[in-house]
């Protein structure tokens, strides 16, 4: 029997082994939504709400974009509702070095640099789009996937349909809105409207 899925707060949860985690990396670079308290700084959002360690943010996350603008100071840049926050490790190339936060060559992109007055923020709950590029994808994926990410239902459906049979064979458990289902049943699920975000969470278990 077909089931309507993804409307509940719990959405879809997959329990997989750590070796399967790489399957989710494409979603990291494309970007996903998270529900968060908005209006706070980038550092507060990442460290206090999502558990990214301050040391990791300081040393590893060398390139930060807020709505496409390179950010120099994660302690002061505030994240508004509907924002896109993209994170990357240090990058090669002169332009890679130029885009680095607080970098020596920041002047070379001063016309697109984030400035505080660029964005008006209010505090409250909202959705933020996160993109995790290059080394940060594999490193931060478990953190975000464990807490749950939101994808358009059409994207989630497409993503699930491209996972190979071998993935489903090795998948430990599948829960949809709190109810355990089989991979076969998941394929028959009727998802809500294509633009409606649906929660996906992933539990990594040996």
């Amino acid at each position: 029997m077909e089931k309507t899925g993804g409307k509940g707060l719990e959405g879809l949860n997959l329990s997989v082994s750590p070796e399967q985690a790489a399957r989710f990396h494409p979603l990291m670079q494309e970007g996903f939504l998270v529900r968060a308290e908005i209006g706070c700084t980038i550092k507060t959002l990442l460290c206090d709400q999502f558990g990214v360690s301050p040391d990791y943010l300081e040393t590893r996350v060398q390139t930060v974009f807020l709505n496409g603008k390179p950010v120099d100071d994660v302690d002061s840049a505030a994240v508004p509702a509907g924002a896109t926050l993209a994170l990357s490790a240090a990058m090669p190339g002169l332009v890679g070095a130029t885009l680095r936060r607080g970098g020596y060559y920041a002047a070379m992109r001063s016309d697109i640099t984030y400035r505080k007055e660029d964005i008006h923020t209010t505090k409250g709950k909202g959705l933020v789009r996160i993109k995790l590029f290059n080394l940060l994808g594999p490193e931060l994926a478990p953190t975000f996937l464990a807490r749950g990410i939101w994808l358009r239902s059409s994207r989630l459906q497409e993503f699930l349909s491209r996972l190979p049979d071998e993935f489903w064979t090795r998948c430990r458990a599948i829960h949809l809105d709190g109810t355990a289902i089989t991979a076969a049943a998941l394929r028959r699920v009727i998802w809500p409207d294509s633009v409606e975000p649906v929660r996906l969470s992933v539990t990594l278990a040996e």
């Binding site: 990357s88 240090a90 002047a107 992109r109």
Partner: protein, 578 residues
């Protein structure tokens, strides 16, 4: 590496080979060597394809030694594309092999009479120049296979494809990699056409029986090299990012910044760029049994390259670089990685620069020769170049000529050379370098990111917008110096953050040559090279009017940030006032 090999291809009775000591060129390597020879010996007003032009092929100062990352080869001449001085460099095996054979440079001079095509054999026993018209119009892959059959698999080849034979202004010089494939190219500026004009199809190098070059102070050299390698390995860019994803790791980042030139520089973002990103490329290579971490020459510890297989798991090409993926990808609005890899393969085989070719195809798409995003049409257009049809010859002449022929206004070139993969409206500082470098639009002309350590031109506040001219100037000076060592420019990222790694590089040079070179000495070398190049261009007729970006960058704003290029002409003109 104490002699120069000169081959006069136009000598009476056939090509004449001479070797001579270094003389006034002693102490120079790579770009410093090629630019010194071109500046001194080539009449600036000569025709680039004429007898008076020279093709200078020079290993770096440290090539042929045990120094890591020292395998870049410089190729210089008067450029058929820009009309000015040109140095294009590439990885591959040739720089190390040529240096071990003892040559600081090979200089092709004169012009042969008639249509004879030559191969040049260089080994420990000497040099032979042999006519071989059976090589006519062979692609680089078939050519190298033929040379392998004739001379064994210990060889290294420097060659041209059909584009070079046709003397097209966008033709490259190919250099074989560790697997003896012609995948590394001195691409920019049409250096392959000059080799074609000299009648040389291929140089076959064999260093069997030769030893690695030995330093004056072996212990200090070994210690400095170890510190240098450790520095590269511990840095997140050279030790992690580049090995894992290659240079194409930049696609997502530049796109996010809104500076990814899309659809012939109409937009700064390509919505489906994740399909061709470094992350996707690495995953694809891994899944198909390719290699996502691979060096382009022995002695490389960064290993930013890879091997790209087709859908059937067979070798297609080396891992396409960021610039290549962009030129055929975002620029032409193509998000098909396999098509881009095929275009890369075709360029390597025909002997074409991928940046110039991709930009030209984008200009042709704007002219209506094909639709943006039509990958098969792009492949067909590049195949026209390989076939040498009239259309192919126009496209093989580069973006500027194609733009004129097809009546396109938005043609992204400086000094007739196509812009690389960063929109100068998004990152204005790189626009300064594109505009002012003597080489024509070139992202690598201001790439050596060590100016903070070198303190070239004094301290510059990086957060002041007006610092862009100074930064570009300093970067160009530092780059000219690094290009002369034969070191891969990617070492620059470790040098930026780790002064001890920079010191290790100086110590390598000093231990090898018994010198006491300091950061100031490096800066002076860079300035000297730039002065020679600027002087050549001035004598060739270049004025400040050539140090400009195309007009549309000032008039058309770039989404999503909606900005134009705002650096004033007077500021550009002040760049070389040091």
């Amino acid at each position: 590496m104490d002699k120069i090999l000169r081959i006069d291809m136009g000598a009476e009775g056939g090509p004449k080979v001479t070797t001579a000591p270094l003389g006034e060129y002693a102490g120079l390597g790579g770009r410093a060597f090629t630019s010194a020879v071109v500046s001194k010996e080539v009449p600036p007003l000569c025709h680039p394809l004429g007898a008076d032009n020279k093709l200078v092929i020079a290993p770096g100062l440290l090539s042929g030694t045990a120094a890591a990352m020292s395998g870049r080869l410089s190729v210089g001449c008067k450029s058929p594309l820009t009309g000015g001085i040109k140095e294009a460099n590439a990885g591959g095996q040739a720089s190390q092999v040529l240096a071990r054979l003892g040559y600081a440079a090979v200089i092709l001079e004169g012009k042969p009479k008639g249509d004879v095509l030559y191969k040049v054999l260089i080994n420990k026993d000497g040099v032979k120049v042999i006519p071989d018209n059976s090589l006519c119009m062979l692609g680089n892959y078939d050519l190298v296979d033929k040379m392998k059959t004739e001379y064994g698999d210990k060889i290294t080849c420097i060659s041209i494809g059909p584009a070079g034979e046709m003397k097209l202004p966008n033709s490259s010089v190919a250099i074989t990699d560790m697997e003896l494939r012609p995948t590394r190219h001195a691409g920019r500026g049409g250096v392959g056409a000059v080799m074609g004009a000299k009648g040389v199809k291929v140089m076959v190098l064999d260093d069997t029986g030769m030893k690695m070059r030995q330093p004056k102070d072996p212990e200090k050299f070994k210690d400095a090299n170890k510190r240098f390698v450790d520095g590269l390995r511990k840095h997140p860019v050279t030790g992690e990012g580049l090995p894992a994803y290659g240079t194409n790791v930049l696609t997502n980042i530049i796109n996010e910044a809104g500076a990814y030139p899309t659809k012939n520089f109409m937009w700064g973002r390509f919505d489906t760029c994740h399909k061709i990103s470094g992350e996707t490329q690495a995953e694809t290579e891994k899944a198909r049994g390719g290699v996502e971490t691979h060096g382009c020459h022995r002695g490389c510890v960064i290993r930013c390259s890879g091997i790209y297989m087709n859908k059937d798991g067979h070798y297609l090409t080396k891992q396409p670089e960021y610039e290549t993926v962009w030129a055929f990808g975002g620029h032409c609005h193509i998000d098909d990685l396999d098509a881009i890899a095929m275009l890369d393969r075709l360029c390597d085989d025909y002997g074409l620069d991928t940046i110039e070719t991709g930009v030209t195809i984008g200009v042709a798409m704007e002219a209506g020769l094909a639709k943006f995003g039509d990958a098969q049409a792009a492949i067909n257009l590049v195949k026209e170049v390989g076939k040498g049809t009239p259309l192919g010859r126009i496209l093989g002449s580069g973006a500027a000529i194609a733009g004129k022929v097809f009546g396109v206004e938005r043609v992204p070139v400086v000094k007739n050379q196509a812009l690389p993969a960063y929109d100068p409206r998004g990152v204005q500082g790189i626009g300064v370098t594109y505009a002012t470098t003597p080489m024509g639009a070139d992202h690598t002309a201001g790439y050596a990111i060590a100016t903070n350590i070198l303190k070239v031109g004094g301290f510059v506040d990086p957060l002041k917008p007006q610092g862009q001219i100074e930064l570009s100037r300093n970067l160009q000076i530092a780059t000219a110096a690094v290009d002369s060592t034969g070191m891969c420019l990617f070492i620059a990222f470790a040098l930026l953050d780790q002064p001890d790694t920079f010191q290790a590089l100086l110590d390598i040079i000093n231990a090898f040559y018994g010198l006491a070179l300091t950061a100031d000495g490096v800066t002076e070398l860079g300035k000297k090279v730039l002065k020679m190049e600027r002087d050549f261009n001035a004598r060739a007729g270049f004025t400040k009017e050539q140090d400009r970006l195309p007009e549309f960058f000032k008039k058309e704003s770039l989404p999503p940030h909606n900005i134009t290029f705002m650096v004033k002409d007077e500021e550009l003109d002040s760049l070389f006032n040091w």
